[in-house]
């Protein structure tokens, strides 16, 4: 049966649409494990802040949100929240909330927040499809969309409830890249402007926009170096840079950074370079090549040197902010550990362990180089983009675990190109044989690609034994196709498994298994936060390590001293110092900061390894950074250099507030094992004078302490406590015939 061209076209479209819809469906549904297993709840830490900010936005106006001064965090400093956040995410959910209300769907803001990431993952799949289609063809695009839809590297940050900036940022990253490629290819100011618009959205949504800010200039720079400069590049880049930079400066948090910080200087420099290149090109067309070479070439080099010297000069003089510490740690993984413990202490800032690559992308990781190799074969302008992206992405993903996220899209794109090429070659079962040597297909000219179209060679007649070759080819093709179908099946299986087992825990609720295999939920966090919400005054100030700041703010609705927005290292170090000092030192700090309650996470009873004693060394280190004379990390180790909490624990350790709060009443009377550190806690009762236990949750996971008020009689709290417990009581007359050691009245 012969189908007309238009029928083929509409079937093609129908297939494409249904495939993309299916992919979006798969992407969304595989992210719903957490909602089904647990409940519709905001996950982890940062999302709690985003959620709280979204609520603020929805309950107040955008204007109020923009100028929000948050006095419930960073007590007593407060935080200029409206000016120090990326509002994209909250505004997006706020707009969705409003739109749904307009169509009479009053959906709770929480549910919008929870479902935001899965919804956007569908869009990401579409954006990746568009991007990959530009690179090869639509079949590769569909594959890439399917890959990004379920790749664990992306799912890890976009399951339902993971309401974080990355949830929408990856979509924006891919759509910006797509529009950039489009602009570059067509040399269109329109597409450049669209690219700038998406870039602006990206800037509004995620601090990772700097990645784009450097990727696009780098792409242009490489193109210029390769001598591929043309007017299309000029138009696309100039439009994007001018509009994008102006737009990005409208975000309060970004402000003047694009012209003042080193991270943005590459974009500015390339902007200048493009102008020079355009000028040089013009000169080139006017003079002879020889003249051009000597005059223009030389002056170009001179200009670049001057620009670079100016850049260095401005940086040294402080007009341009030097690289931030977080950026240094991208180049030297050991830098943060030595200089900025606050950054090194964050687990997602650690260098990636190699199994993580496989874990997060499975077979795509080995298809990735193959795809890049195939791209090298053709090396059009846009292919250079993928190459640059893959190099940068791989490097950054190797340096920091969280940047695995930015690498995943390019892995998916390259792998899709590799597999699609493979299918192009081996998936052709038509009776026509192809030339032996064709392994790399010639790509179709742009805009004319048809999926599945066979690339033909003209040298058919030269083959001798067509039938034999065909059979042989069929076997070989069959083997490759079948094995790759198997791999793809494995990939889907792996992705589902990883998603369901590793990335779907809200981490607010912990799941464990009972001996009979049934699931048991440990809900201590919420128990404690709810207790705080219900039993403490509304303006009570809670001190905890910064990890729990956002959660306390979000769930307990109480004022915190420090939180996950680690903008003030000194304030965090103050908390670290209070935690790692003895009660006598800590109490004045607590009083000065008007602390009412102290919250610690203690996993020793349950065997929960993410507790505060395990994070304790970071508190010590961060405090040591500010008070090297008072806090010394060495003091918290045993003389043998071990980190012990049992009877061998060092004095500083045993006297520290954190140790006391963690093990208070834990092993009273009998020795008890700490199940995290596998050490026995000595039965000596721990004495707390300045704090009193307020609440301990069911599994001892969260412990709350109330800070005692000053003694009514003006005694220090230690002697007050010993009087109350009767320890100071002396018997007989002798006690009074001796004078007490008072500081006598003048």
């Amino acid at each position: 049966m012969q189908l007309s061209a238009s029928t083929v076209k509409s079937i093609n479209l129908l297939l494409k649409v249904s495939i993309l819809l299916t992919i979006a469906g798969a992407a969304v549904s595989s992210r719903l494990f957490s909602v089904i297993r647990f409940e519709s709840i905001i996950h982890e830490f940062d999302p709690w802040f985003n959620f709280r900010a979204s609520k603020y936005l929805v309950n107040n106006s955008y204007y109020k949100f923009l100028n929000w001064f948050d006095d419930k965090t960073w007590y007593p400093l407060g935080r200029v929240t409206g000016g120090t956040l990326y509002p994209g995410l909250m505004v997006t959910s706020g707009v969705i909330h409003k739109l749904l209300r307009m169509v009479a769907l009053p959906i709770d803001i929480r549910n919008i927040c929870v479902m935001m990431a899965p919804a956007f993952s569908g869009l990401t799949a579409y954006a990746t499809y568009l991007f990959t289609s530009e690179m090869k063809d639509q079949s590769a695009g569909l594959l890439a969309a399917a890959f990004i839809g379920i790749a664990p590297g992306y799912i890890s940050r976009s399951v339902a409830g993971s309401y974080d900036n990355e949830a929408i940022a990856i979509f924006l990253l891919m759509i910006t890249f797509y529009t950039w490629i489009k602009a570059l290819k067509m040399g269109s100011a329109f597409w450049g402007a669209v690219c700038a618009a998406f870039y602006f959205y990206m800037v509004a949504a995620w601090g990772g926009y700097v990645f784009i800010t450097n990727m696009i200039p780098l792409h242009v720079f490489v193109l210029i170096l390769m001598g591929r400069y043309n007017d299309r590049i000029y138009v696309a880049y100039s439009t994007w840079y001018a509009l994008g930079t102006l737009a990005s400066m409208q975000i309060p948090f970004v402000g003047f950074l694009p012209i003042r910080s080193s991270e943005h200087m590459a974009a500015l420099g390339v902007f200048g370079l493009v102008q020079l290149a355009a000028f040089a090109n013009y000169i080139k067309s006017q003079v002879t090549p020889k003249q051009f070479k000597y005059t223009v070439g030389l002056s170009l080099v001179g200009l670049i040197a001057i620009a670079f010297a100016g850049l260095v000069g401005l940086t040294v003089s402080g007009v341009i902010a030097p690289w931030t510490g977080r950026f240094y740690s991208l180049w030297d993984t050991g830098y943060a550990k030595i200089h900025i413990p606050i950054i090194a202490s964050v687990s997602e800032h650690q260098p990636t362990a190699w199994p993580a690559f496989f874990f997060d992308t499975q077979m795509l990781i080995w298809l990735f180089p193959a795809g890049v190799y195939l791209i090298f074969q053709e090396l059009r302008d846009e292919h250079i983009f993928v190459i640059v992206y893959s190099i940068l992405g791989s490097y950054f993903a190797g340096v920091m675990v969280r940047l695995m996220l930015t690498l995943t899209p390019v892995i998916c794109v390259s792998a899709a190109i590799a597999i699609s090429t493979l299918l192009d070659v081996y998936g052709d079962f038509s009776t026509k044989t192809k030339g032996d040597t064709v392994l790399v297909p010639k790509y179709q000219p742009l805009g004319h690609e048809k999926p599945g179209e066979v690339v033909e060679d003209d040298e058919d007649d030269e083959t001798v034994d067509k039938a034999a070759k065909f059979t042989l080819g069929l076997v070989a093709k069959g083997a490759v196709i079948v094995s790759f179908l198997f791999y793809l099946g494995m990939f889907v299986y792996h992705c589902t498994w990883v998603t369901s087992n590793a990335y779907s825990s809200p981490s607010v609720v912990l799941a464990s298994r009972m001996p009979d295999g049934s699931q048991h939920l440990i809900d201590d966090y919420r128990e404690a936060y709810y207790w705080l919400r219900m039993n403490t005054p509304e303006d009570a100030r809670i001190m905890s390590w910064w990890d729990y700041g956002y959660q306390i703010g979000g769930m307990a609705d109480r004022t915190t001293l420090v939180d996950n927005n680690t903008w003030n290292n000194t304030h965090i170090a103050t908390v670290g110092k209070a935690m790692s000092s003895s009660e006598e030192v800590a109490y004045p700090i607590l009083r000065q900061h008007d602390v009412d309650y102290v919250l610690v996470i203690f996993g020793g009873h349950l065997g929960y390894s993410g507790d505060d004693i395990n994070k304790f060394l970071w508190m010590v280190r961060i405090a040591e950074g500010i008070w090297p004379d008072e806090i010394k990390e060495r003091n918290y180790f045993t003389p043998a250099g071990e980190y012990k909490v049992d009877d061998k624990a060092s004095e500083a350790m045993k006297n520290s507030l954190m140790y006391k709060m963690s093990y208070y009443r834990f092993a009273e009377g009998t020795q008890k094992p700490d199940r995290v550190r596998n050490q026995w806690i000595p039965p000596t009762p721990i004495e707390l004078n300045t704090l009193e236990e307020a609440y301990t949750t069911e599994n001892w996971l969260v412990r709350l302490y109330k800070v005692k008020d000053l003694d009514n009689l003006g005694r220090d709290l230690k002697s007050a406590k010993s009087f109350d417990t009767g320890k100071a009581k002396k018997k007989g007359k002798a006690a009074y015939s001796e004078k007490r050691a008072f500081e006598l009245r003048e």
């Binding site: 923009l66 100028n67 001064f69 006095d71 007590y75 007593p76 400093l77 407060g78 200029v80 000016g83 309060p252 303006d539 000065q592 900061h593 008007d594 008020d709 000053l710 003694d711 009514n712 009689l713 003006g714 005694r715 002697s719 007050a720 009087f723 109350d724 009767g726 009581k729 007359k733 009074y736 015939s737 004078k739 007490r740 008072f742 500081e743 006598l744 009245r745 003048e746």
Partner: protein, 505 residues
Amino acid sequence: MANNERRKKNAPMGKRIGHVIRRGPFHQIIRPFRQNRNLQVSPFSRVWTRFEFHLSSGHDTNSTALHNTSPTMLFVRTLVLAMAGLVAAKPPVEARTAVIVDKNTDLAQYSQFFDDAEHLLDTVTVIDVKDKSFDLFTYGYQAYDMVILFPPQVKSLGPALTSRKLLEFFNKGGHILSITSPEHTPESIRDFAQEMGISMAPKFHKLVDHFGETGPNHDSLTLDTVNSVISSAENVVYSGSAAYLSNNPQLVPLLTAPSTSYVYDYKEDEEDEENAGTMGTPWITGSQGFPAVGFQGKNNARFAWVGGDIMTNEQYTAHPGNRQFMKDVVEWVSVAKNVISPEYIRHNLAATPDVLNEKIYKVNEDITYSVALTEWDNVKEDWVPFIADDVQIEFTMLNPYYRLTLEQTGTTNFSAIYSTTFKIPDQHGVFTFNLDYKRPGYTFIEEKTRATIRHTANDEWPRSWEITNSWVYLTSAVMVVIAWFLFVVFYLFVGKADKEAVHKQ
């Protein structure tokens, strides 16, 4: 008559004024207070009565039970008779005083003391120290507001009056007046006082002075009070023990021993026949000895200790100074004297004095803080303005940004208004107005009021054209726009015309 009763009732209620104020935002409390003043229904009375009611119901059942079950408990006839009329005229919710005695105490000896104190001690319950059913607390609440401990001759005051119970009573706001004698200083009181920094001399120690008119045994000293804030009695004739004091700033010395005096163990001196007339090392010498001391807790509960029994009728008749002194001390302990309280605390923008106690202010604004201080006048039985020139506040975020002395800017009928206006520093954050007024002998005032200071919002900066410096940039921006427009015009039309002209030529 009804009004008078109300007035009477105001006295003890007023003592709690500080507590009441903390119960809600000031403007809520203050306005009804001022409006209803003429009606004699203050919000204090409302709140306090409710609170009291709860207590008194417990107390009533308790005392009835005591009366029924313990025959040893005494309602001393003379006292009850003396105060019967008064008690009957007063509402049942009053400052409840427990007088702790033992069976050797003859309260008739102290009738003048009680007569003087009658207007302060509303319901007096006399309790035998041996009474096993006696308890300072009923269901965890205080059963009494004040306890007067007479020097008992028993060694121990029993389980109801251990040092820890006394401390708990004190910490919950109860007032204690303790009189001891060199022979009888119960250990619980000694322990309790020790915690405050009062180190009483051991048993059988007394204060003597060999100079001046000090009687045959050189132990009857004539002293003047040292603290005119509490008492300015002169010629207090004292014989008894003394204590030495720590540097605790909450202590208020009432009497100081003369520099020539000392405290020694007279019993040892008497028993030791060989060295009769000479004595061992004195316990305290000179003006380090304090025969009477007051103490005020951070919760404004008051405690006073007198180391010798100087308040019998006999003493009173002989020495009017003693009478004056004890009258003042009782007045002080029963918080009828030196009671100051903030009637209200306000902060507002200097520009808008009508909008009070906003939760949030902006940096660099001028702000006015004012506090109205009032003092209880026991003679007038009313609140009067409290006049002082040393009232300060701190404007604090972690550290004080300002420490300002408030100026008196006016008076209301009941209080003096102190205020100051200052410019909020250019620093956002949660600031505290810290009013910390602690003067020895006076009620401590420590009021922390928090206000958030926010940053300048995006539209609160001056517009760009209002800044002269920006004109350069504005001009250049406008010029570029115009230049661009001209360029386009020229490029499109002028050039073409030229070319056409050239072409034509």
